[in-house]
Symmetry: C2
Subunit: 278 residues, 2 copies
């Protein structure tokens, strides 16, 4: 496993592999890896000749007052985990390496970035698409893998790839959960014991919704109302609970196959997201 901090250096290695026609797979991360990340890496490992993982806590996707500075980091542990997953190249640039003086170019997927998480985090997805595009241009992967926990992010990345004609395939991996159902997230470490316990309501409410749908309830309003009640009763402060089309992310009145139910909820100061596909 080779480590790269400099863009020029990893580009050089990538160029060599490109000339040898290796299939390059890529999993971008913000580090503090958990089983969710590792599941994406395992998916990529199977398809790639050369597997590249990036670790970069990207400042441009955090809003003012968000958790950029306290976002958990543990490079040593991460590198150990990546080594075990047989990763070939790790790219972990400094902020200055990615955003050099005078940086001012941003990529934006307009409509899809405004809804759901985009409402309460207005510049978040602009930061995500910009850094992902930069990473794509540096790593030049044949494919990249994103997690379904950040469902909106994956939809936006796919849209960007299509709209900008990027020669890259996007795959998504399933949500990985703790034994009690909480979706794995680096941000779970922020939760105190009570919050951690309360947070299990997210997946419970999503499972309840899917179950209700399977039993014939198709009125999204009803489902959302009940979910909100469940979440509030467990101490969650709701950012959103929505039922949307899984491609357009537009709200649907009537649930059907392919409807995404997604939630963003604060437990204390920690904002968690989760979702389920009908």
């Amino acid at each position: 496993m080779r480590l790269y901090k400099k863009i020029n250096q990893i580009k050089k290695s990538i160029q060599k592999y490109k000339r040898e026609r290796k299939i390059i797979g890529f999993v971008p991360t913000m580090g503090y890896l958990h089983k969710g990340h590792l599941s994406l890496i395992k998916i990529a490992r199977k398809k790639a000749d050369i597997l590249v993982v990036s670790i970069f806590v990207n400042p441009t996707q955090f809003g003012p007052g968000e958790d950029f500075s306290r976002y958990p980091r543990n490079m040593e542990r991460d590198l150990g985990l990546l080594e075990k997953e047989d990763v070939d190249m790790v790219f972990y640039p400094a902020i200055k390496e990615m955003y050099s003086e005078g940086f001012e170019t941003f990529v934006e997927v307009k409509e899809l970035s405004r809804v759901m998480c985009g409402k309460s985090r207005p510049d978040h997805f602009r930061g995500v698409t910009t850094v992902v595009l930069k990473l794509f241009n540096i790593v030049e992967p044949d494919f990249a893998v994103f997690g379904k926990k950040d469902f909106q992010q994956a939809v936006i990345i796919k849209r960007m790839v299509k709209d900008l004609n990027l020669p890259i395939r996007i795959f998504t991996g399933p949500i990985i959960r703790e034994p009690d159902g909480l979706a794995m997230s680096s941000r779970n470490t922020y939760l105190n014991q009570t919050e951690r316990k309360n947070a299990t309501v997210l997946f419970k409410s999503l499972k309840w919704a899917k179950n209700a749908y399977n039993n014939g309830v198709i009125d999204s309003k009803k489902i959302i109302q009940k979910m909100k009640k469940m979440i509030k009763n467990s101490g969650g402060q709701i950012d959103y609970v929505v039922a949307v089309d899984k491609n357009s992310l537009k709200p649907v009145r009537t649930l059907k196959k392919g409807t995404l139910i997604a939630v963003a909820v604060y437990f204390g100061k920690t904002r968690l997201i989760d979702n389920i596909l009908l």
Copy 2:
């Protein structure tokens, strides 16, 4: 010379050349080719194994009420000229091929796009950077050539390439002028006889400015004032006359080597631009 209207088809051919490690050169144009375009193509021809030229009048870089619909087009003549220049591949997609349903991704170079032409054409450069990035991703050139007449555009493209880590070199070619000094532009065809004659004041005023600078005048205010007078006296309606740093495009008070003097002026309804480097 091979012609391509479909993205998938040109991508396929490009992939073949990439595998053969050909150096791919690219000159994007909006067609209605003149000697300015041809000079860029000649520059690219010398450096490229495979020379790709695109012809696409890009709707997203025209503002409402601008000249998108009446922008001059003559594909047959263009193809004849490109054939003579020994171009290998011509890409001339339909609008729908470039902007398919649901398109909503835009790239913006924030600060540099706000000044000069960006002031009177607020979404213009966003359209330019977006389509150029798309074309770059389709053609995957090793280098691309842009004209210095659109100086601000070239600065913005270079910034985008740097900020997004695109593996593409950007070259610029000099302004090509009519015998009387008017910078070549497809828009010159809009001018009536009087306007055409009046428009020669642009280069005259720029030459005067350079001459004044060479004779020791370094106060940009003085130079700009006098230029504005010259242009108005010749029937031009000024959009801007500026003296700026050639990299940052920020106004300078004191002229020096590397200062760019640039003008945008209406003659009748036709907006022309020109510039000179000190």
